[in-house]
């Protein structure tokens, strides 16, 4: 250990700005009657998403001599939905979220998330509210909006909703990703590759940009749209090469949700990924009845990066993983 390693990765001036932003966010929700809540960081179940890796540990103590397996939550989504089902009304949470296998200039394995839910809102009403919050914190103009299909087609000249695997492979090769494309069997991997590397750098450069109606195959916990079952009520917010937030018109159907969890675990079994226990308490809450609602999660560290003009996440958190 070097003697200098005690020092924070962010400077104190930035941490003050960060504190101001957190206060502004709390005030924003306070005046809108959205209740602040806290939910467990450690839970018996976790997310089955094939692209998320949870940390796990074991509780040993009264009642659990043999150890109770617990997962650090990758987002507070499941527990917050249980509060919504219990009649909480509109809620928000500012908390730490934990994701294994993620570190870089825009990622730290533990990070700060703002998540909020609005019963009675659809994804468009929630985008409006989010737009207000972003303007209030970053002092930017109102965000633009475009569908996933339109922006992908405009930038890459191929319709992502009708393209075949072969067409996507050819397009990926054209853009220098032949090594990845040649053995790829999942359309979504190629869509994500092309979107991340080629579409994202072209959007939200001068003002924030909402991309909505993501492909149904990337719905996660969003409803499939009634008007077009190829797309889901899922949106993302981008600004200056940063993915800032992901929102859903929330899936309320318990059976459909359980089916998606099972499909994830089937894929995990086939591909040598660990099995993640399905959150049956969330399924129970959906069976009881989740009010129609929209919810969104935003990366607060990235928001602070934009507000303070820093390009590395370690510059806006007191101690990054290498100094933790």
């Amino acid at each position: 250990m070097s003697v200098t390693s005690w020092a924070p990765s962010a400077d104190i001036k930035t941490l003050k700005q960060r504190a101001d932003i957190l206060r502004t966010i709390r005030e924003f929700f306070h005046v809108r009657n959205v209740m602040e809540v806290e939910t467990p960081s450690l839970s018996a179940a976790s997310v089955t998403d094939i692209h998320l890796a949870s940390f796990s540990t074991s509780f040993v103590g009264p009642g659990h001599a043999g150890g109770l397996p617990l997962y650090l939550q990758t987002s507070p989504e499941f527990a917050m939905k249980r509060l919504l089902a219990a009649g909480s009304g509109a809620i928000f949470q500012l908390c730490k979220a934990f994701r294994n296998e993620e570190a870089g200039s825009h990622h730290n394995p533990e990070f700060t998330m703002l998540e909020w839910y609005r019963p009675g809102f659809d994804e468009f009403a929630l985008m409006n509210e989010m737009d207000e919050l972003i303007q209030c914190i970053l002092g930017v103009e109102s965000a633009t909006r475009i569908t996933y299909q339109d922006v992908f087609t405009q930038v890459l000249g191929l319709d992502p909703l009708t393209a075949s695997l072969e067409q996507l492979k050819a397009l990926a090769c054209e853009h220098g990703f032949a090594d990845i494309a040649k053995n790829e069997t999942k359309k979504d991997t190629l869509l994500q590759l092309l979107f991340c590397m080629k579409v994202e750098p072209t959007i939200g450069q001068t003002k924030p940009c909402f991309v909505y109606h993501f492909p149904a195959s990337q719905a996660a916990l969003a409803q499939i749209c009634e008007h077009d079952n190829r797309v889901a009520g899922r949106f993302e917010l981008y600004y200056k090469n940063m993915e800032l937030a992901n929102g859903f018109n929330e899936l309320t159907n318990a059976k459909e949700q359980a089916k998606r969890f099972d499909e994830d675990n089937a894929y995990r079994a086939e591909n040598g990924l660990n099995h993640v226990p399905m959150d049956t308490r969330l399924i129970g809450a959906l069976e009881h009845g989740l009010p129609k609602c929209a919810g969104v999660a935003m990366g607060i560290d990235r928001l602070v990066m934009l507000a303070t003009n820093k390009d590395k996440i370690k510059d806006v958190i007191a101690f990054d993983v290498d100094r933790a």
Binding site: L193, F195, M197
Partner: protein, 188 residues
């Protein structure tokens, strides 16, 4: 040679790419909140010197390259090869013109250079950061003119040409930064 997964990627790691040994310059994880993670990597090809960007699916592995740097003293050239020696083992290695690249103009006998070996063969020669060389040719210039007027070109004993201040004369030994090719000072 061992394989390296994307989690082992970092600046300086040597990997094989298109049959050529490469050095990783920068490694950045790119991952959408919902979706596949990728590693966007800047790589320098060690033989051609080309720098390129390459994207990997996170979790993939690539073959490592058996590349190592060794410090050897420059002995002499026979016109075709440049000969270097390990001062401890006295083992000698000969680098050809391709491996030598631009390093030739900075080679001073007995100076210790870094020789990059791939599978035991030299592919690059890096001279010391600073070398001391005698000026063999330069315009007389004005004695006493120490103002920063941009200086004048001077040819050194190895044939290298650098800009020097006007007061520096033929026969003097100067110190040069080989990374930038810039004059540092006179050696007294």
């Amino acid at each position: 040679m061992a394989n390296y997964s994307t989690n082992e990627f970092k600046g300086g790691l040597k990997i094989m790419m298109d049959g050529e040994p490469c050095s990783i310059l920068e490694n950045e994880m790119v991952k959408p909140g919902k979706g596949q993670a990728f590693n966007r990597v800047r790589i320098r090809k060690l033989i051609s010197g080309k720098v390129l960007e390459k994207t990997f699916k996170s979790g993939e592995s690539v073959e490592g390259a058996d590349v190592m740097d060794t410090d050897l003293a420059y002995l002499y050239t026979d016109g075709e090869f440049w000969h270097f020696m390990n001062n401890e083992t006295f083992e000698q290695i000969a680098a050809d013109e391709k491996a030598l690249g631009d390093a030739g103009k900075w080679l001073v006998e007995n100076d210790v250079c870094t020789i990059t070996l791939w599978n035991g063969n030299p592919i690059a020669v890096t001279p010391p950061n600073f070398v001391e060389l005698e000026i063999t040719e330069t315009d007389p210039g004005l004695k006493g003119d120490t103002a920063g007027t941009g200086g004048k070109p001077a040819t050194l004993s190895t044939g290298a040409v650098v800009r020097v201040p006007l007061f520096v004369q033929i026969g003097e030994v100067i110190k040069v930064d080989t990374r930038s090719g810039e004059y540092v000072g006179r050696v007294k």
